[in-house]
Assembly symmetry: C2
Homo-oligomer: 374 residues x 2
Amino acid sequence: MQTDLSKQLGVEAPIFAFTHCRDVVVEVSRAGGIGVLGAVGFSVEQLREELDWIDAHIGDHIYGVDTAIPQKYEGMDSSTPEELVALIESAIPQRHREFAEGLLSNAGVPAWPDANDPISLSFSIQQAQALVDEALTRPKCRMIVNALGTPPAEIIEQVHEAGRLIGALAGRIKHGLAHKEAGLDFVVCQGSEGGGHAGEVTSMVLWPQMVDAVAPLPVLAAGGIANGRQMLAAMSMGVQGVWMGSRWLISTEAQAEPGQRESYKAATSEDTVRSRSFTGKTARMLKNEWTEAWERDDTPDPLPMPMQGYLTFDALRRTHRYASVGDCQKVAFNPVGQVVGQMNDEQSCRDIMFQLLTEYADALEQVNTLSLQE
Amino acid sequence: MQTDLSKQLGVEAPIFAFTHCRDVVVEVSRAGGIGVLGAVGFSVEQLREELDWIDAHIGDHIYGVDTAIPQKYEGMDSSTPEELVALIESAIPQRHREFAEGLLSNAGVPAWPDANDPISLSFSIQQAQALVDEALTRPKCRMIVNALGTPPAEIIEQVHEAGRLIGALAGRIKHGLAHKEAGLDFVVCQGSEGGGHAGEVTSMVLWPQMVDAVAPLPVLAAGGIANGRQMLAAMSMGVQGVWMGSRWLISTEAQAEPGQRESYKAATSEDTVRSRSFTGKTARMLKNEWTEAWERDDTPDPLPMPMQGYLTFDALRRTHRYASVGDCQKVAFNPVGQVVGQMNDEQSCRDIMFQLLTEYADALEQVNTLSLQE
């Protein structure tokens, strides 16, 4: 099964796997899709290490890199990362720091071992530029995706000059139109059921409107896809591929602490919430005591991005590292879409890919049968 | 195009049109689908009048009737409607009454002409029973649908003995399972993007899970369908038909005040909200000053059902009748799904049906073409 975009990329199936795990990138690409490494929060050294491994294991297949190239933060003009950090630090009230730390301590989450480890400013333009530079040195990295708005014109030009494709996420029609205007090659359109940052309009309603709005630019469908029937549903609405993130989180190749993996396996589709409590922007994640604590009337409100993300950087790394310790899952950051309710069994990425394509073909045969009936 | 359910009903296409307008019922059924008259809030006399008209105009086609057959209200045991009204009246604080009236007056919505007109208790079991009795006297009424939970066993038995089908809405898997357990003939499964009462899980995620959960019971897909691509997407996930409500609201045959019609035409998919401000249960509608006013910290919270619906009965009838007067649209009840953003042109129901089926066929051809490509 092919679309113009999958043919352009030279992959067998238009299935894009967003993941933070290099093993998943490799396995999906080797199974005919295209793995996209989510590199937000990586240092250049980390990215280099991951891409070295991927390049060594992926064979002749290709992959992509997803990062977060921010617009300027309002009222935060600064020429260096250090200045930006100082601005952010000064904008975080002490009450917020104490509240966040209290939630972690109450849940018995151990402190980070080295208090001198720096807080990485994931969402700076300098950081993103360095990651893009590194990715573009890799011939098998065929696409860059921006998770956070339209990338700056210089980066679009740089990616194009390197002969790669560049796209970006969009949860609203106006963002898709801005991407098209800026000259991007495709739009990843995510409905509100998706994990991580997403808007309010659901995939069923958003995808066909986005396809029409940005045509002939290709649209990838994100949010709500974890099986072959959902993939066919997406393709029915005119997209050129599917972008899946959640489904790989419990694949056998995914690197996750058992505590987090069990949280995903146990959750139903009703157990997620859209919350600003981790990044400062509304993102979908598993509900827990942390997300509920930031909602209450008698507690601090989440700060805007980038302050809230800076404030919760410590919560993120600690709940990730100590995911299976004490009551850590009560306050852990577990971003995932509503399809989490469909994720109960651990399977290899190859099996997931095979099931997707088999169920897709079966579902297509089924709807074709309906049409033949009078 | 046919499914087992559409064949059982003897209609040409499995398109179910939920509407409060008798003309829409007739036109959709005559065009090969099946019109379903939403009778919640109707008196028996009103329903009789509407069904007389439908029977006289629908020819040999069939239709359905949708009503709200409630479970008992917790802590509200009462043997007569009068007793229930007295209980409800006593549970509505004066502050709520004044707040609601203030919003209406500020928007310049005229008072209801006859203060002696009774407030209809739409959601009583007695009222629902009377509507079902009336509907079952009509040979062309082939199905009863309950908008509010699993109907009582006596009503299910009554409908079956009359040789008709009975189904019910479900926005959560557990509700679908309860419907199956009770012996219903089908489940109308509505995702969170749908208009009116809906749960939190979106159609993309909810439909395939419901299909699997209640199999082999037929599922109708509701929420997010207004064009043929969306219909194909739904059918791809294994449902036996599509249930559409919003799309008909601006059809030429729909009876609506120009003010309300214009509100629907002007709205984008981002202009709806899930709010408890009218019925007391979360329902999707157009955002306006009314829905926002009930959200604020310094205003009363919406009461539970049935109190809030009783309290807002006057707001409903006044904003419906005077939809085009003054600033009425700022406080009007305009229930609709997120597909409202796709509804810009007024078309006849027959044209809408034709477009649905044509676009469905085109989209199916398109996905079949993708599969042939290597």
